[in-house]
């Protein structure tokens, strides 16, 4: 390490920039997060456990995880189609659509929330159609999935696009020359190349969906046990000044999302080892 420092000594500012970065990171992120973790130690284990395993909390985990899973899976399939179409085909309006894919990143979640609610409410542009089919979207669990699908939309598309652009056409040509039909080269040559990126996109969309609050809170109706997601339950506890309860749920949620991210990373590692 010393040798490395000496080698780069021609450039100044190492101490200053690293010192400031670590100081600022600690001040804004690490110390507050650490303090939150420490706060849980001020409550007894029994209290913690009854809070995080209460029936209402369990129902909220089921909804949060289930709806995030469905939304991320939808985005994986649709994102693959959208990325493929945007990279491989030419059609009118393609560049505008491509730029619009980032809309869910840039649109404030509260705006997304009230807009999707207006669209899918019983008297909304799409809601009235669904209502006539007997399906209620807004203020049900389907509404939660719709909101989470919206906010997760860009992840898979944006992870796949650069990969599809760089995909060497020669491997497809080679497959065709060797007698593969289009379906075979797609499933055996192209898809394995895309699989790790698909899993990454899925993981990003899923992680984002679990923590999402703003867009869901308007469309879900927020009924405890039925349409209450975990972040909302934390919010409710805070509004009742139950800080210990809110912290316990937050820790449970952090643990779940870190565990899932770890699992998905393992899966990615496996798919890379298998197909690369």
């Amino acid at each position: 390490m010393l040798r490395a420092l000496r080698r780069h000594r021609v450039l100044p500012g190492f101490g200053l920039t690293l010192g400031f970065s670590v100081f600022y990171l600690s001040l804004i992120v690490l110390i507050p997060l650490g303090a939150a973790f420490l706060k849980t130690f001020t409550m007894s284990w029994d209290h913690f456990w009854t809070t995080v395993t209460s029936a209402r909390a369990l129902a909220s985990y089921r909804l949060s995880l289930g709806a995030s899973m469905i939304a991320a899976a939808t985005n994986t399939i649709m994102g693959l189609i959208v990325a493929w179409v945007l990279v491989r085909y030419e059609f009118a309006g393609k560049r505008i659509l491509d730029a619009l894919v980032d809309l869910p990143f840039a649109l404030p979640t509260a705006v997304a929330g009230i807009t999707l609610t207006a669209m899918f409410a019983g008297n909304g542009w799409l809601g009235s159609y669904f209502e006539s089919l007997g399906v209620k979207v807004a203020f049900t669990r389907i509404g939660v999935v719709v909101a989470l699908t919206f906010i997760g939309l860009p992840f898979v598309v944006r992870t796949l696009e650069p990969l599809l652009q760089d995909l060497d056409p020669e491997i497809e040509e080679a497959a065709a020359t060797l007698g593969a039909n289009r379906w075979q080269s797609w499933t055996r040559v192209i898809f394995p190349e895309l699989l790790p990126a698909l899993l990454t996109g899925f993981a990003l969309a899923f992680a984002r969906a679990i923590g999402e609050y703003g867009s869901v809170v308007f469309i879900s109706g927020n009924m405890p046990m039925r349409t209450e997601i975990t972040p909302l339950m934390i919010m409710t506890k805070l509004a009742q000044f139950d800080y210990a309860g809110a912290t316990a749920l937050a820790i449970a949620m952090l643990a779940m999302s870190f565990a899932l991210l770890f699992l998905i990373n393992l899966l990615q590692w496996w798919s890379r080892a298998r197909y690369a």
């Binding site: 490395a4 491989r88 404030p108 909304g124 609050y213 972040p231 919010m235």
Partner: protein
């Protein structure tokens, strides 16, 4: 010309021989484009149309009244103030972190990179909660702050802190990968030729990363002005005092003032559209820069 044309048509004929195997049948193409367009229309285009239709539902006068009334104006001022504090701080941090990470080797570098991304994997609600636990009345520093008569939670400092937290990685994560691939040869050359550290930074590093920097700032700004969950936890929702634009939208919406809520929301939607246009412009500029780096760099150095 004739030779070129014959060559061209020949290669097209050659390609046609295997084209059935190299592209999908036309009906699948049309089907896929149709499915993609329907999905994007429902999730991207319709919501934009809905925001503006709902905003103008009660007429243009209600629209302008909603965005100019004192509480809305106060919310707009607070949002601008918050962004004006959060963005420069995260910008300086992003530059410092990217400089340290890309120009030097040190132990724990990959840990630092991981930690910088941490705020992205934390739910917005939890981002706000951690500051309540630190500075709130029941938090670690709450009683001391109360003795000093200084409020952070349910006041503007808390809103600024929560916003800094959620926008923390934006600039850094745009700069770090770019500056790592660019290496430090140009900076070393500048130093060897006698430039000071600051001259090297201003004349060599900054021009090389300006598009990525701008990109990060634009995304940071969009999130800073639009953040809802984290700010909602720490704000206390005091009208005219601690309401940002997204919180004002929520209040109006919950009061069944739909036209007012969408009118104020349309301001954020316009900001989003501006963000997307700027982002596309920068993508395009960066692509040109990547294709003809010498011409662009040469043009600049001869001008001055």
């Amino acid at each position: 010309m004739n030779v070129m044309e014959t060559l061209g048509s020949r290669s097209i004929k050659l390609r046609r021989g295997t084209s059935g195997r190299l592209t999908e049948p036309a009906w699948i193409k049309v089907l896929l484009i149709g499915v993609a367009m329907l999905f994007l229309a429902v999730f991207l285009i319709l919501p934009l149309l809905v925001v503006f239709t709902e905003a103008f539902k009660k007429g243009i006068e209600v629209y302008f009244a909603s965005i100019t009334e004192p509480d809305a104006a106060a919310a707009i001022r607070l949002t601008l103030l918050t962004a004006a504090i959060a963005i420069p701080l995260n910008l300086v941090f992003g530059l410092a972190a990217a400089w340290a990470i890309s120009k030097f080797d040190f132990a724990g570098k990959s840990l630092l990179v991981t930690l910088i991304d941490l705020p992205f994997s934390v739910s917005p609600v939890i981002s706000g909660l951690i500051y309540v636990l630190l500075f709130g009345l029941q938090g670690w520093l709450g009683p001391w702050l109360q003795a000093q008569d200084f409020k952070i939670i349910f006041a503007i400092p808390g809103i600024v802190l929560a916003t800094i937290f959620v926008t923390f990685p934006f600039v850094a994560r745009e700069l770090i990968p770019l500056m790592q691939t660019q290496g430090s040869e140009e900076e070393v050359a500048a130093r060897v030729l006698g430039a000071s550290g600051w001259q090297t930074f201003w004349r060599v590093t900054l021009p090389n990363v300006k598009w990525a920097l701008l990109y990060g700032v634009i995304l940071c700004n969009a999130r800073a002005m639009g953040e809802f969950g984290a700010v909602s936890v720490v704000s206390g929702h005091i009208r005219g005092l601690t309401n940002t634009i997204p919180l004002h939208v929520e209040i109006l919406y919950n009061e069944y003032n739909s036209a007012g809520a969408f009118a104020v929301a349309s301001l954020l939607a316009i900001l989003t559209l501006i963000t997307l246009v700027l982002k596309s412009l920068i993508d395009w500029k960066a692509k040109i820069h990547a294709q003809f780096p010498d011409e662009v760099a040469g043009g600049r150095s001869y001008e001055h």
